[in-house]
């Protein structure tokens, strides 16, 4: 077995020998990868934070949004180029780090990166700002006076998870509002954020001191306190159990944005269940299950399937199982470490026990198959699946009957993949929105949010900035002090 080596992070102003290094080991298909991650002392984080603040003030804040978009576009173009060394490195190492199938990573990266090209980024900005120039200069307001949107001096990102490229969202958001950024790499995928930072600096060397990416072991209070004290805003991803202690380290005067773990599901109306469409719908549903082995916040845990179509919910669950089998040939599920295998097994056992007590229940997939479909013949309490291609199919008489049950878990809801006719789409959207769902996509598109989507229903950019207003009174008063005043 070969052992590969990679170095993570991007830390301007520090030499490798100034830093402590830790090794994170990843064991993938047929190879071992040792990733060296840099660990700064609390004092070094403070120095770095100061450098990034000054650097972004001196350069990033002087750029227009259009110029920033152009730089990001050039960096993303390189990541989309199969011949680019960064792209090749990503294709080579990310499957090892995450365990995901290489082809799935390759296709996923391309689809994802495409949402960060120039036109998409322009759309991204205009989603939040009717007049994007408000990020560049004071703009007249309809009510009178002027206003400008200022990004933070220092935005601290705490990334989590192994879905490749995830840190790009907040990193690019930070750039677009001209904020200096310091990020903490996720232990589960510590490479991508550092690559992107280095690539940006290659594309525009003057960005060198405007961002930095490092690592510490989660829960290290002295480092967190040191860095958070320098931040204007701390943005963190992760489960509630890890967000909670992070929040406690954030000073009360510093804003904290948390993106917790989410639960998404699909809904299949009887309109999508004639013999021709059901097959396609099942294929798309299986695609959403297969993508990143359900590790995304937008990945489905359950499909609610309506009775009364030509194809019954039970038959649909069999179609779905069949589609999962075919995807397994093309994009095999990653090999699960023992702990994850055990949690999949215990989910499977729980489903198995339900067969004894729940009439009409069925379980597809046997010991050893890398997917499972659990079918229930009637409404069930909402519960997460064990991920890793385990999915529940629940038969319902009407789709809207699940609303009260899902509404009980509103804090966790995110995406609903919906296959329904137009009138149903809008009627259900209203009810789902009220229940706490923030995104409704087509089945098959659950794992690919469109450019400019509002992550967890929030504003990606507006949440980061503060508005500075010149009120009309100041404008008028200034007139009285003008040199030309009579």
């Amino acid at each position: 077995m070969t052992t590969l080596h990679a170095v993570a992070g991007y830390l301007p102003g520090f030499k490798a020998e100034d830093l402590q290094w830790q090794t994170l080991r990843f064991q993938g298909r047929g190879a071992t990868l040792d990733v060296a991650v840099p660990e700064l002392s609390p004092a070094q984080w403070v120095v770095l934070a100061e450098r990034v603040k000054q650097g972004s003030r001196a350069y990033l804040k002087t750029l227009t949004v259009s110029q920033i978009i152009a730089v990001v576009d050039r960096a993303v173009a390189r990541l989309l180029d199969p011949k680019d060394p960064y792209r090749q490195e990503a294709e080579r190492l990310l499957p090892l780090v995450t365990g995901y199938d290489a082809e799935m990573v390759r296709l996923g990266l391309t689809a994802y990166l495409k949402t960060f090209r120039q036109p998409q980024l322009q759309r991204f900005v205009s989603e939040d700002f009717a007049n994007p120039k408000v990020l560049d200069e004071f703009q007249p307001r309809p009510k009178g006076g002027f206003a400008k949107a200022f990004g933070p001096d220092l935005l601290v990102h705490i990334w989590a998870g192994n879905v490749p490229g995830l840190p790009l969202w907040s990193l690019i958001s930070g750039l677009l509002v001209k904020s200096g950024s310091v990020g903490k790499l996720p232990g589960a995928e510590p490479l991508f954020a550092g690559w992107f930072a280095r690539l940006l600096v290659e594309v525009d060397p003057q960005l060198a001191d405007c961002l930095a990416v490092g690592w510490w072991k989660g829960g290290d209070q002295s480092r967190e306190q040191a860095l958070f004290a320098q931040a204007d805003l701390v943005l963190a991803y992760g489960g509630n159990a890890s967000l909670e202690p992070i929040r406690r380290q954030v000073p009360i005067t510093t804003r904290f944005l948390a993106y917790g773990h989410k639960l998404s599901f699909g809904m299949i109306s009887r309109a999508a269940l004639d013999s021709r469409k059901a097959q396609t719908t099942a294929h798309q549903a299986a695609y959403d299950v297969m993508r990143y082995d359900q590790q995304g916040c937008y990945s489905p845990h359950v499909f609610y399937v309506e009775r009364g179509g030509k194809v019954s919910p039970r038959d649909f669950s069999q179609y779905l199982a069949h589609e999962l089998v075919s995807f397994e040939h093309k994009f095999p599920r990653r090999v699960l470490p023992l702990e994850e295998a055990a949690s999949v097994a215990s989910w499977h056992q729980a489903q198995e026990l339900k067969l004894f007590t729940l009439s009409g229940a069925a379980l597809m997939g046997e010991a050893g198959t890398p997917w499972r479909v659990a079918y229930a013949d009637g409404p069930q309490p909402l519960a997460p699946s064990a991920l890793n291609r385990t999915i529940q199919v629940i038969a319902v008489d009407r789709l809207d009957q699940v609303i009260p049950e899902i509404a009980r878990h509103r804090a966790f809801l995110q995406t609903v993949g919906l296959a329904a006719a137009p009138a149903e789409l809008f009627a259900l959207a209203e009810q789902l929105g009220q229940a706490g769902v923030t995104r409704i996509s087509a089945v098959g598109a659950m794992t690919a949010p469109e450019a400019g989507w509002h992550h967890d229903g929030r504003f990606n950019l507006l949440d980061l900035i503060q508005m500075v207003e010149i009120e009309q009174s100041a404008e008028l008063a200034a007139e009285t002090f003008a040199p030309y005043v009579d």
């Binding site: 993106y259 699960l336 023992l338 994850e340 055990a342 729980a350 004894f356 966790f412």
Partner: protein, 372 residues
């Protein structure tokens, strides 16, 4: 060996008595071989398959019947969560002598139930094994118990286990130091000081977390003891969120330095409500310690996804086949990760709490939120 019970005309009571007799005889035969274990395991499987409808359905779901099960390794292992969802008993639960229940820290408040029509087998198993692994040749020792009595916790298998220890092996003056009022530290200190003076060996037994509470209390008072040679400690069960968590090495080092008992005399018992037999190590001087059980229990390490045994030396989830579980199910799939070593297995922790890899909600977090 009697013929499988499908072929007998015995009344249910006589049938049980017959099985129990054979079982006790087997347990009494020190060093019985694999060849002797297997037929008894298969006989119990056949009995449980026939008289335990829930278990039979479980086996059929797995495609296993007495026809296809050829060795104890083939007996389908029932996950411990099934003790919560199903009634796993050959005898009607109402006619059983005792029900042990899990402490119910997971899956809402549903408790796993283990029915014992008679405690004769459980008690024999406990005594024979305890005598060999903890008493190590001595008949009696003065005991202090850091756990509630059996009267306070009638459904706790550990309370019963400790009561048996005191009744059978406790010298005069053995007593409990834990009541509804909590740990009686002053009395315990007095007894420990007395043992120091008389030179009589003393044994402290209880839940792991109770020892943490004891050490916290002693530290607060600045007290330490040097108990006489032959004194020992038995802890079991881990911290279970009942006390702060201490790394195992620190736990035994502190225990040893506060009580003056060498870590080699600090013995950990690994048991569970769903079993009728316990595992022990031979002290905790070297960590992790090797756990092993008597000849009537055998363990395998499996890949939980495939139920297949892992290669020797690889991590797997523990499956135990306990012949003393004559009324419930002999083979259970635990949630404990271990690895096989010479003379037994190492316990590496629980398989729960697999950290979420991505940003999708994991079952654990969902359950925590639902409970809050």
């Amino acid at each position: 060996m009697n013929a499988p019970d499908t072929a007998t005309d015995l009344s249910p009571q006589a049938l049980i008595a017959d099985i129990v007799d054979d079982l006790l005889a087997f347990m009494a035969r020190e060093g019985a071989s694999d060849e002797a274990f297997n037929p008894l395991a298969l006989r119990l499987f056949s009995h449980q398959f026939q008289h335990n409808p829930a278990f039979q359905r479980f086996c059929r779901q797995r495609g296993k019947t007495p026809r296809t099960v050829k060795t104890w390794r083939d007996i389908p292992a029932v996950p411990i969560s099934a003790f919560k969802a199903l009634t796993l008993s050959c005898q009607p639960p109402s006619s059983t002598d005792r029900v042990f229940m899990t402490s119910g820290t997971t899956q809402g408040d549903v408790k796993g139930k283990h029915y014992h029509p008679t405690l004769a087998v459980y008690d024999y198993s406990m005594r024979a094994n305890f005598s060999r692994r903890f008493m190590q040749g001595s008949d009696k020792i003065s005991m202090g118990i850091l756990f509630p009595t059996e009267e306070v916790m009638p459904n706790s298998s550990l309370a019963h286990y400790l009561a048996l220890a005191v009744q059978t092996f406790g010298a005069a003056g053995s007593r409990y130091f834990l009541s509804q009022q909590g740990l009686d530290t002053p009395q315990l200190c007095a007894v420990l000081a007395q043992a120091e003076q008389t030179g009589e060996p003393y044994a402290l037994l209880g839940a792991t977390y109770s020892f943490v509470h004891l050490m916290d209390a002693l530290r607060q008072q600045g007290r330490t003891f040097v108990l006489p040679p032959g004194s020992k400690v038995l802890d079991t069960g881990g911290f279970k969120g009942q006390s702060r968590e201490i790394p195992v090495a620190d736990f035994y080092a502190q225990l040893s330095s506060m009580l003056g008992i060498p870590t080699s005399q600090c013995i950990n018992m690994y048991g569970m409500t769903e079993l009728s037999t316990q595992f022990y190590d031979a002290g905790n001087a070297t960590l992790p310690s090797v756990k092993s059980g008597p000849h009537w229990i055998k363990s395998r390490l499996v890949n939980p996804m495939t139920d297949e045994e892992v290669a020797h030396g690889e991590h797997g989830v523990l499956v135990h086949c306990d012949l003393a579980n004559f009324n419930s199910v002999t083979s259970i799939l635990t949630e404990d990760v271990g690895v096989a070593v010479e003379g037994g297995f190492l316990l590496l922790g629980r398989a729960e709490g697999a950290q979420a890899k991505g940003c999708s909600l994991a079952v654990e977090e969902f359950l925590r939120a639902a409970k809050a």
